[in-house]
């Protein structure tokens, strides 16, 4: 079972709790905001990522199941 972690940067307030809970999935940037370092997670990292998502006070983290290997739709505003 693998999962994917995503940060909604418009919600994140930069408390940084998440990166301490899930160090294998997230890192903090120069300003203390989380960056996803590993998108496809499994095992312990996935469990920690779920815990981080639950702990995030802003609901900025989502973990979704990777159901297939199909490439995500490219959004039209992406170059």
């Amino acid at each position: 079972m693998t999962g994917r972690l995503r940060v909604d940067r418009t919600r994140c307030a930069g408390h940084g709790i998440c990166a301490f809970i899930a160090p294998g999935a997230l890192d903090l940037d120069a300003w203390g905001f989380p960056e996803v370092v590993a998108t496809e997670l499994s095992g312990d990292d996935l469990r920690r990522a779920r815990r981080a998502a639950a702990a995030c006070p802003r609901g900025a983290l989502t973990v979704s199941d990777v159901v297939s290997t199909v490439q995500p739709l490219r959004a039209p505003w992406e170059p």
Binding site: R6, D8, R9, T10, R11, C12, G14, D29, A30, W31, G32, F33, E35, L73, A75, P76, W77, P79
Partner: protein
Amino acid sequence: MTLALRPTEIAVDDGASPFGIGEQGARLLAGPIASAGAEPLGAHLARLGALPQVEVRQFLDEVAASGLAGRGGGGFPAARKVATARAAAAGKTVTVVVNASESEPASRKDRTLCALRPHLVLDGAAVAAALAGASSVVIYAHRGADAVAEAFRRAVAERRSSGLTDPVFHLGMGPARYVAGEASAAASWLAGGEAKPRALTAPLAAAGLSGQPTVVHNAETLAHLALLARFGASWWAAAGTPSSPGSRLVTVHGGDHGATVLEVVEPVTVGSLLEHAAAATATAADGWGRPGGPGSRGAGEPPVRAVLVGGYAGRFVDGAGVATLPCTTEGLALVGAAPGCGLLAPLSADACGVATAARLARWLAGESAGQCGPCLYGLADVAEALEALVAGTSSRRAVRTLRRLLGEVRGKGACHHPDGAVAMVESFLDVFAAEVDAHARRRRCPVGCAVPAWPLPQPEEAWR
């Protein structure tokens, strides 16, 4: 070679301005002179004919074949957006948004087009609505853009009373802020929220306004669509170049001289556009720019040190090469630039690139929607580093740190606002390497840190 340019700031009656197949005259701006104001519906239809009934599938192929790319900055293929919306339309309410916000402070092309040819834009919106399966269109502009609002109000009233079969047109005047012009910010505002960009998980064209398919197009893109529907892809794509087809509106910012909007129909160099704009603003009672000769900018004018291409979040290119630099997507790509919103802002050699970049960076930092940490804090740090250069308190080491910082901000926003700002500053560091070094070593600024008269509007407070 006929330079198919048309200065619009000047009253010019160039006769009939024939508009036909193969005619290499102006296209979007063909028709009555600029001082005549908005072209009325009757004149518009007499000149171009009625909008033909388009057969959706066939016309979608036609749009795809034309290669029309968005003129709002991103250059995304127009055919894909409407097709996405159409595919997602079942059981949904599709909306077409005319992005007439033109939030780039120095750009004038959209408001010029909307004020002079509102029916061309509305025709295009009607075509987009037919393609996407939308029954309503929202024209989205910034509060304070009175000329644009007025032109559309009148144009829509004319269409209603003439009984044209049109989608329902609405006018939405949103907050006058830079990022409010971004597509997801527009959709958010139209759905009753703040005009701030949203972190999207699906394209707006599939699930935008309150989850409904939303096709956001720049006003110029839609005007092109209106011509495509009438004259077909092969006529349309005869302008421009094979890899960046169609004509394109550009704004040449002239500092104190104001701005000139030109429609570029044939591939021309950036240098010749600057000359035409300078000539158009300086002289030419007949309104057609007369270049003063190769390489000249008019007697006594300092040479161009650099040109900011594509918007404030575009890229600086070295002035030394502009005489031979084609103002096309491929040509600009050679120097790492892109047409973006069509802005060309020349910086003359008597102005300071360092102080200019610092100002632009500070302004762009202030325009962050303040939602994403790296955008909010990162852009402010970038501006501060540039201001230290201007103040003479920087160092070569600090410049290296700035380069690293730029790398940390890139791609870290929910929208492309920080990416554009980073690209502008990076291009500045490259093009103005010598000046940056001189400032970093705390030498005196050779031009006294004079800055050009580029507009940096105070953003409106409200986000709704």
